[in-house]
């Protein structure tokens, strides 16, 4: 069970949130071509380690938050707003 510290509502249980996947993806330019779009829609880094991802606080403020979470330990290093640049701990720090 995760505890996500919503910047608006405080620390809450993960049952209040809905996961929305990888937050590092950037939509390609409209004329970027099929390969760029296929890669954007389908391909993922899917790391075993720190992962920057979206969680929507659906049963709270309903904001979409950016979360830095470790996919092996579930440790959460940072929670922020959608356009925040969050610090990602060193790759070797936890695994």
């Amino acid at each position: 069970m995760l505890r996500i510290a919503c910047p608006h509502c405080g620390p809450r249980d993960d049952v209040e949130f809905r996961y929305r996947g990888d937050a590092t993806l950037a939509r390609p330019a409209a004329d970027a071509g099929v390969d760029a779009f296929a890669s954007y829609v389908f391909e993922r880094d899917n790391p075993a380690g720190w992962h920057v991802e979206w969680w929507q606080h659906v049963q709270g403020c309903r904001r979409v938050l950016k979360v830095v979470r470790h996919t092996l330990t579930h440790e959460i290093a940072a929670v922020g707003e959608a356009n925040d640049e969050l610090r990602i701990p060193d790759a070797g720090a936890k695994s």
């Binding site: 069970m1 996947g21 829609v41 389908f42 391909e43 993922r44 996919t71 579930h74």
Partner: protein, 417 residues
């Protein structure tokens, strides 16, 4: 290979059972192989066996980081069936089911293949219509499936509370030839048969890197040294993205955890596999008497092979709604398995952007039933370089070309499958 039989059992009994030998050779890795298979799970071992048997390719190593059978092949809820939605999937999984039916004879290994039937319950008219459409597709492909009304469900599975207050059961679709298989025995059976044909099964050998020369893969770095290979197959279930990263490409996959549970043993009470269409819950009774059950994935990317309380609570709640008697049983064990959730919820058996490198993965939570056919299709691809007709729709190019397989109509959101 010394064959197992009633006669052999009697003979070994006379010798005090001291004459049994290990079922397969625990080999040390050679410096070079024609084919290196990364991952000693069901698909890796079945592929090795088929390569040796059907294509005469015996210079093969299966490299497993732990011990064979401890991955998802030994962590799943053991359900086999071929009730799929799209015709190409019905054909693929039906081929697998037919191979399960002959598995024990072909492998000379008791895997306790038990065709006790699988029933999918429905709870609304819309769900009934959708299942009926699936049933019709199956029948067009010559595969058995029957409609069972509410009274029939009650007869088949008396523990099911068909009038449950949350999602009353209206009926179900039964595939009588579906059922369960002793999962560990699948790994052991394939390992024994492959090893007997010359395949090296190398345990405690983790692949840590992939060596490339330009566009080609030429071997793997392992915890037991570099191993050269003409062809390499990744068959690592939940870890495909990590192996792909070692080789320098990305896959349409996220890794998620699925949990399973088993209760204390009770008398025979549940004679078929039951899945609850409304609550994402499925249950069967093991041959030892425990009720084995599971539900949905935890819902966020994870490589932690354990699983969280949130989903445990949800699965138990769904189970107790469907079968109130379940709430009186003690859960003895719970575990999780990490799985490749592919972007369209379907497997990937394919060439990759790297030459001589193939992948068998993306099985999501349904790849156990697929093991026999997965071995056939993957061995064909590795041996000939061309997709097997039964698995041609599993190619990676389907994502770029807009031919994703729409089994469930969920779209590219693995956590929603």
């Amino acid at each position: 290979m010394d064959l197992y039989s009633g006669w052999r059992l009697a003979k070994e009994a006379l010798g005090g059972h001291l004459g049994w030998k290990p079922a397969w050779r625990d080999a040390a890795p050679k410096a070079q192989y024609q084919v290196v298979i990364v991952g000693g799970g069901g698909h890796g071992l079945a592929t090795a066996y088929r390569l040796a048997k059907e294509y005469g390719v015996t210079d093969v190593a299966v490299l497993e980081k732990g011990a064979i059978g401890l991955g998802n092949v030994g962590r799943n809820t053991t359900i086999i069936r071929s009730n799929y939605f799209s015709s190409e999937n019905v054909r693929f999984y039906e081929t697998s089911l037919k191979l399960w039916e002959r598995f024990e004879q072909e492998m000379n290994f008791n895997a306790m293949v038990s065709q006790r039937g699988t029933i999918n319950l429905y709870h609304t008219d819309g769900q009934r219509d959708l299942f009926a459409r699936r049933a019709n597709t199956m029948r067009l492909e010559g595969v058995d499936v029957e409609h069972v009304d509410k009274a029939g469900v009650k007869m088949l599975a008396p523990l099911v509370d068909v009038e449950n207050g949350r999602y009353p059961v209206l009926g179900g679709f039964l595939q009588k030839r579906g059922g369960t298989v002793r999962h560990d025995a699948v790994a052991w059976g394939y390992a024994r048969a492959a090893s007997a044909r010359g395949v090296d099964i190398v345990q405690q050998c983790e692949v840590t890197g992939v060596r490339r020369e330009g566009a080609r893969a030429v071997g793997v770095e392992t915890t037991r040294g570099f191993i050269a290979a003409d062809k390499i197959l990744f068959a690592v279930a939940g870890h495909s993205s990590r192996l792909a990263a070692m080789a320098g490409f990305r896959l349409p996959i996220e890794t998620h955890v699925l949990q399973a549970f088993v209760t204390e043993s009770i008398k025979p009470t549940l004679d078929c596999v039951v899945t609850y269409g409304a609550g994402h819950f499925y249950v069967s009774q093991s041959d030892k008497g425990g009720l084995v059950f599971g539900g949905a994935i935890d819902g966020c990317n994870t490589y932690a092979q354990r699983g969280g309380f949130t989903m445990q609570e949800e699965v138990m709640a769904a189970g107790a709604t469907l079968m109130p008697a379940l709430s009186r049983l003690r859960v003895l064990r719970q575990w999780g398995g990490v799985m490749d959730m592919s972007m369209d919820g379907n497997p990937i058996i394919s060439r990759t952007p790297v030459e001589n490198l193939f992948v068998n993965g993306g099985w999501c939570y349904g790849g156990f039933k697929a093991i026999p056919a997965g071995g056939v299709v993957t061995a064909h691809l590795v041996a000939t370089g061309k997709p097997h007709p039964l698995g041609a729709h599993f190619g990676l190019d389907r994502f770029r070309e807009g031919r994703t397989i729409d089994e469930r109509g969920v779209g590219p959101s693995p956590w929603a499958h």
